[in-house]
Symmetry: C2
Subunit: 186 residues, 2 copies
DNA sequence: AGCTAACCTGACCGATCGGTCAGAAACTGT
DNA sequence: ACAGTTTCTGACCGATCGGTCAGGTTAGCT
């Protein structure tokens, strides 16, 4: 993998997440990378391929987390370790998660986005099956969408802090937010 | 105002919020309304005018709420009444808020979006000036972005409830989420 | 019926979109 | 120096974008 390819992937991810996939042109990505549009299409055979390269690592990582979740059941300790894993995930892949959350429902014709939607759906069901309460479902939605939003706009919100402090605060807030969601009796 | 104009406004708002402003074509809006693209441009002289018509009521309403806020200071009672006002606002204008939150930063060249960004900034400062804590700023971001996300995707999250129940749950969750933000001594 | 104004449309415009292709430029190992 | 591969580019294509314009259709008023 050449340096250009990896640089293009990073630029495309940032633009897709902030400006939107459909609203980001290959010309714009090329311009930011200091290349021509043709060069972008040399490294990635289509715009969709570029999107796939940008987001698939995040999908695989989250899929893996959810797989281990089915085995290691819903004990309180399992809950806490899952939350830690999830916070690490969302901190590393904040742009990807923001993209899935905001553009997933409207990009259903793109295969890789469908995979992402399925993963988000699995995550939602993990919480939804354990509660029939409307408030609890809302708690999950606010936690997921809120964390993705906040982490991608913390600059404009005046939040600037070392990542350790961000991580600790996020664990605190999400724990509190999701705590009322009932753990089923064993 | 003809029925077509109001119908176009509603359709455009829904499409702009879900698919994105840049990604939504006038042809698409016309198609959903059962009209031609030319007819859309008869009622609204440009795509930007249509966006303005779609979102300006929400901007004015939120601006009004923030104006009364500066007078009626930061007493705990004022806090609670503000939260109620804000929940009513975000329930009525959930599509508009979702649009501001997700597309505001990337549409700075559109004047009406700049107005919206200023309002969001005022709201952020209302919370930010009362706290220097990183965690508290993050609480505000999660509450704002999370509520906007959850209210616009509650269908796919399996949340279907009467609006009164949604409202009550939202007040509960946001109160809890924002409670730790310190109220300054009088 | 006749006039007016509101409403709607198809044809057309320049610009930009994603994508193709032939070939130039740069780097490699020999 | 040479050949081969990787990297990069400009010219070009059909499709779609937002927007203009001249003219057709409908409705109400006198």
């Amino acid at each position: 993998m050449s340096t250009s390819a990896e640089e293009l992937r990073a630029i495309a991810l940032a633009e897709f997440a902030t400006a939107g996939y459909a609203a980001t042109s290959l010309h714009r990505i090329a311009e930011l990378a200091g290349l021509s549009k043709s060069s972008v299409l040399y490294h990635y055979s289509s715009k969709e391929t570029l999107l796939e390269a940008a987001v698939s690592p995040a999908i695989e990582r989250m899929g893996g987390i959810l797989d281990t979740l089915q085995v290691n059941s819903l004990s309180p300790a399992g809950r806490a370790s899952f939350l830690n894993e999830f916070v690490d995930f969302i901190l590393e892949y904040r742009r990807e998660v923001n993209l899935f959350i905001n553009q997933g429902p409207s990009l259903t014709d793109v295969p890789v986005i469908d995979q992402a939607n399925e993963v988000v759906q699995r995550l939602a069901e993990y919480f939804a099956t354990n509660t029939s309460s409307v408030e609890d479902k809302m708690r999950f939605g606010i936690a997921l969408g809120g964390a993705a939003y906040m982490l991608c706009t913390q600059d404009s919100l005046g939040v600037q802090s070392p990542i350790d402090e961000t991580r600790a605060a996020l664990v605190t807030i999400l724990s509190e937010l999701l705590a009322p969601i009932a753990v089923p009796a064993p």
